[in-house]
Amino acid sequence: MKILVVDDFSTMRRIIKNLLRDLGFNNTSEADDGSSALPVLQNGNFDFLITDWNMPGMQGIDLLKAVRADPKLAKLPVLMVTAESKREQIIEAAQAGVNGYIVKPFTAATLKEKIEKIFERVQASA
C-alpha cells in the first residue's frame, strides 16, 4: 500500500505519516502542494492519496479535480484532511469525487475509521 500525503505544513505531514505507520502503512511519500503532488502521483503507482485543502500553489480541491480528470489516476481513493469546514466546501469536495473528508483537528481513531471505510468501499466495488 503506497500512500501520498500532501500538506504544506511539514508538522502535519509528519503527524499523518506517524499515524499511518501506527495503522501498519509504512510506504508513504510526501508533497507540499498540489502542483508538486500531481507529477509524483502520475509517476508513482500510488494506492491512496491524503491531501490538505488550503495550500499555497495548487489547492487540494484542484488536485482532487486533476486526479479525477486524469484517466490513469481517476480511480485513486482520495481522503481530504483539512481545516476547511464550510458546508459549501464539503459539498464541493463531495461533488468533485472525494472518498472521505476529515476536519482538523482530528483524532487517530477518526483517521483509522475513515481509511478503513474507504478501503471497504473500494474492495466492495472492485
Binding site: 481545516a83 476547511e84 464550510k86 459549501e88 464539503i90 476536519v103 482530528f106 477518526t110
Partner: protein, 248 residues
C-alpha cells in the same frame, strides 16, 4: 509661461489702454485688446475649474480610502485580535495536552525501570543457583505481575505518545490563522501608505479597494470562534452527517 490669473495691475493697465484706444477712435485696436482681455480671464477660469475637478477627484478617492480604513478598523482589527486569541488558546491546549501526557507517562516509565531492575537481580541469583525454592516462587509471581503490567503500561505509553503526536497539529492550524493576520496587517500597511500618499497630494494613487477573502471557493482557513463560525460544520460528526446526506 504664466498661465495664472492676470494681476490687478495688469488688468488696470489693459483697461486703461482699452479706454485710450477707444478715445483715440482706433476701433480695431480696441477690439483686439478687448478680445485678449476676455481670453486671459477665460484661461484663468479654465485653470480654476481644472483645480476644482482635481480636488473633487482627490476628495472622492480619499472617501474610498476612508471607507477602506473604517472597514479595517471596524472589522479587520477585531477579527485579527480574535484570531490571535485563538492562536493562544490552541497553543495552550496543545501544551497542556503534551504536559499531561508526559506527566502521566514519566511515572510509568520509572516504574517499568524499577520493576525490571529488581527482576534482573532476582534472575541473576537464579542463574547463579543462589535461589531458594520460596524465592523462586516469589520471582515467578513477580514475573507474572511484570508481564501483565508491562502490557498495560506499554499501551498507556503508546496512547500518550499518540496524543503528543496529534497535539502537534496546532502548528498547522495556528500557522494558517497567523498567515491570515499577516495578510491583514499587510492591508493596513498598504492603506496607511496610500493615505500618506494622498495627504501629500501626489497624483499616483490607486483608488481601487482591495478585495477581501470573499471569493466563494477560496479557502476560509480554520474556523475561529467569534470570527467565521457561520456556515461552518462544528465537528467531524457534522461532516459525516452532511456527507451521508449527499449519499456517502
Amino acid at each position: 509661461m504664466e498661465s495664472g490669473k492676470p494681476s490687478i495691475a495688469a488688468c488696470k493697465h489693459q483697461l486703461r489702454e482699452l479706454l485710450q484706444d477707444m478715445d483715440n477712435g482706433s476701433e480695431q485696436d480696441a477690439e483686439r485688446l478687448l478680445e485678449s482681455f476676455v481670453k486671459s480671464h477665460e484661461a484663468s477660469m479654465f485653470n480654476e475649474i481644472g483645480r476644482i475637478t482635481r480636488d473633487l477627484h482627490d476628495t472622492l478617492a480619499s472617501f474610498q480610502m476612508d471607507s477602506q480604513m473604517v472597514d479595517l478598523a471596524e472589522k479587520g482589527i477585531p477579527d485579527a485580535k480574535e484570531r490571535l486569541n485563538y492562536v493562544i488558546t490552541l497553543t495552550e491546549q496543545a501544551a497542556n495536552k503534551v504536559l499531561s501526557a508526559v506527566e502521566e507517562s514519566l511515572p510509568v516509565s520509572e516504574a517499568l525501570e524499577t520493576h525490571a531492575l529488581k527482576l534482573d537481580q532476582s534472575w541473576k541469583r537464579f542463574r547463579q543457583r543462589e535461589m531458594t525454592v520460596e524465592d523462586f516462587r516469589a520471582m515467578a509471581s513477580e514475573i507474572d505481575d511484570f508481564l501483565g503490567s508491562t502490557t498495560q503500561n506499554a499501551s498507556l505509553l503508546h496512547a500518550n505518545l499518540s496524543d503528543m503526536l496529534l497535539a502537534q497539529g496546532f502548528q498547522d492550524l495556528t500557522g494558517q490563522v497567523i498567515r491570515r493576520v499577516i495578510t491583514m496587517v499587510q492591508e493596513v500597511e498598504d492603506s496607511l501608505v496610500d493615505l500618506i500618499r494622498m495627504t501629500r497630494k501626489t497624483t499616483d494613487f490607486r483608488p481601487e479597494i482591495q478585495q477581501g477573502n470573499g471569493s466563494l471557493s477560496a479557502p476560509a482557513g480554520p474556523k475561529v470562534p467569534g470570527v467565521n463560525t457561520a456556515d461552518h460544520v462544528s465537528n467531524q460528526d457534522d461532516v459525516d452527517a452532511l456527507l451521508s446526506s449527499l449519499g456517502f
